[in-house]
Amino acid sequence: MFNNDSFTVPFAATQTNNDKGLITTETGAAGTPYDTGAGELSTTASMQPGLVYETTAIDYLNFLCYYGYNITTIKTISKALPENFTCPADSKLDLISTINYPSIGISGFKGNENKTVNRTVTNVGGDGVAVYTVSVETPPGFNIQVNPEKLQFTKDGEKLTYQVIVSAAASLKQDVFGALTWSNGKYKVRSPIVISNQSSSTK
């Protein structure tokens, strides 16, 4: 099933165990990114990832704001606050998805809407010039658009930003999972995507 707006492939389970089967939970059910995170770590591929997502101190301070802490509470957590730091005016839990993290978790998805997050990647492949193309594993019923579909780096250390627009006509019955992968033939950079209709913490 191909989408003519961007590169998409039917959602495929890519997380396998050493028996080439799906990673499962202790009950035998198929594992999800809530169980496995981004997957099982690789001792070799992680040495040369190609691109990295750098999460800044401001990202982490904003996380505390989005989580609901005010500036007084944040000052007790992080004594070294940049001067004049204030929480974004519209801080709320669902904005946690906007932090520059290697995975993408979208919460509070009500259906019949679209949500956009930005991500910034740094070229660490060491080859200077590098062209990455995105491919998306899209959950059924969803449309995931990535702009641009090509990232063209000209030097090491360069940062480029892309947008992910997630939309669906229907509302969610349960959390769904996908992924986007940037490849340049030499490196693959995979980010799991989770979309949930929940938007407050549950314990």
Partner: protein
């Protein structure tokens, strides 16, 4: 062959807390690890007490990730923690 099973690193998914979930998975079941040399429960009769044991848990998974993080840092000394974490996650 015993199916490999992994322990989740980081937060145990005992709660259904939406905003903090595991980032990565590492081997954590039936891991050969160093042990106190004093545990007579695992010694064989007539043999010295073993200094190793086969143990499971996130305490077994975590050192795998720590080791990979240290290797990445040794190859890329200028990288900060978020770049190292990203390298581990995007290649998982």
């Amino acid at each position: 062959m015993e199916r490999e099973r992994c322990e989740k690193l980081g937060l145990i998914r005992a709660s259904t807390y939406l905003y903090l979930q595991p980032d990565i998975t590492a081997p954590g079941v039936a891991i050969l690890a160093a042990w106190t040399g004093n545990d007579s429960r695992i010694s064989l009769e007539g043999k010295p007490v073993s200094q190793f044991n086969v143990i499971s848990g996130t305490s077994m998974a975590a050192p795998h990730v720590t080791a990979v993080a240290s290797l990445i840092k040794s190859q890329h000394p200028t990288w900060g923690p978020s770049a190292i974490r990203s390298a581990i996650m995007t290649t998982g």
